[in-house]
Symmetry: C2
Subunit: 300 residues, 2 copies
């Protein structure tokens, strides 16, 4: 591992203090500014006074985990999460790739490794079911539990916390058979709290009649709190239905208060998949994100 | 009220026995063959040996409830449901229209009046939130409970059973803040069982990790069982994501077995909102529906 980073960036960058202390725990999930390289995203965080970043494996791979870790650490940023492991519902549980993801999260010092557990076997994310479709939802869920039995101790040995992310039920078939916070907690509770936590993502859970009770139940199982809005009408590609806070229908008040009351003290990530956001100037996106974070999300 | 129906149809039509006893409880929801008038749908049921029909208020209005009731009764059909009342989350609870829907259900002798409770105040179904958007989900849900307090006894006095339909969470903002069977049952349990039941619609509930337990809990609260499949990828208009049984990702086995075990003895409706189905020849749609009902849905 070299001390010199790609592009000849200096190894230490002073991080200016955020202008508003309410931004102290704001984290930019890298996919929100998807057009930026890792280096651009790190620079963008520094420039905008953001102290934490949620990384994606695809972007980390541009440098490799060790150099990426250095890049982020030298900029004084925390790594609020690494996205993502998972897709555990196939025949083989996808274990090798998930072990690699755990190793990367360890190298990066990420607060957690987010797991998107996968949909029904044979369904490609966003695609049509192929000939290998299994409609056995119980089996798919059992496979997640079995894979977690292997991955949780592996993560624990490396000081990595897995974060089970329940996804909105509209993604149940193709992305995650884990659909509610209650279900995620039932699964997490079988493992030590430092090994397996959950993600509370407003976009995925806002509709759930049981969500406030489940956030309270979660307590220190909450490994990540992510905020983005739910747009209506849904766009043609429902994966891109996330919006900037304030552009959709979510009331961030009760959810944020519940997460705070549950004792969560980590960063708050903004993760937005949205074609318009991706087409915009990333610096403007970050500026809007900061502004909306203050106006729409109550203090943590 | 006249004995002569529009179009001069004879007042009594002999209903041939279904060829397969497994079709005895199959009901055609009228919206599946949306291009048909009420009269055409009734004739179609008779022609195809289907003994039950789920009616829609828009179609019933073509004749008025009394004449429609006669048309259906003379064909020897049961009315498995009337769709739909609801949209209770506005300022006024939409009570007048719902009382009218109850009256229509009474006139038709419908087994239940399906209630789609409505989304967040200010969000038009399928549309964008207007200036009147309220993000107060708890308030919207409270309004449903309050409206039901008025409508349940009104329905009870007229021998009509209201059927609360939890809708898939992707419709929470614009169509129904009632998103799970557990939530529907919590609401229903505050009223006599003959006044308020629930709809179990496979499309809406298949993903729910708690669905089998909630169906068991429901017992004789189940007022309607509806089957259609969940398509992936979702079409651009998610309202039209329903498919013919076998075309999507739902395993009808466990759900149907649970509904049977819960003691449900009513009809099984096929309700499909789908642009391709609506564009097809309705007679072919009904023929396919009968075939798939036998091959994909276990005997009730």
């Amino acid at each position: 591992m070299s001390d010199t980073l790609p592009g000849g960036r200096p190894a230490a960058v002073e991080t200016p203090a955020p202008a508003d202390p309410r931004l102290d725990r704001l984290s930019l999930n890298q996919w929100t500014t998807r057009g930026w390289t890792l280096e651009q995203a790190v620079d963008g965080c520094v420039r905008h006074g953001i102290r934490s970043i949620g990384l994606w494996r695809e972007k980390v791979a541009e440098h490799g985990p060790a150099a990426a870790a250095r890049l982020v650490a030298d900029a004084g940023l925390r790594v609020s999460s690494l996205c993502r492991g998972g897709f555990l519902t196939g025949d083989d549980g996808n274990l090798d790739d998930n072990r690699a993801a755990v190793d990367e999260a360890a190298a990066l010092g990420a607060a957690c490794l987010v797991l998107v557990v996968g949909g029904l076997p044979g369904v490609v994310p966003g695609g049509s079911p192929g000939g290998g479709l299994s409609r056995d939802l119980a089996l798919a869920r059992e496979r997640v539990a079995r894979a977690l039995d292997v991955l949780a101790p592996y993560a624990g040995e490396r000081g990595v916390r897995l974060a089970l992310e329940p996804l909105h039920p509209m993604y149940c078939a193709d992305r995650a058979v884990l659909s509610t916070l209650a279900q995620a907690l039932d699964l997490a509770d079988r493992h030590p709290v430092e090994q397996v936590g959950v993600v509370v993502d407003t976009f995925h859970v806002w509709w759930d009649p049981d969500v406030l009770a489940q956030i309270a139940r979660a307590g220190d199982r909450i490994a990540s709190y992510q905020v983005s809005d739910f747009l209506v009408p849904l766009p043609a590609d429902v994966l891109l239905a996330r919006g900037m806070m304030g552009d959709g229908v979510i009331d961030f008040g009760p959810l944020t208060a519940a997460v705070r009351a549950a004792g969560y003290r980590g960063d708050v990530e903004v993760e937005i998949f949205n074609a318009d956001v991706w087409a915009a100037d990333p610096d403007e996106v970050v500026a809007t994100m900061k502004r909306r974070f203050v106006t729409e999300v109550p203090p943590m």
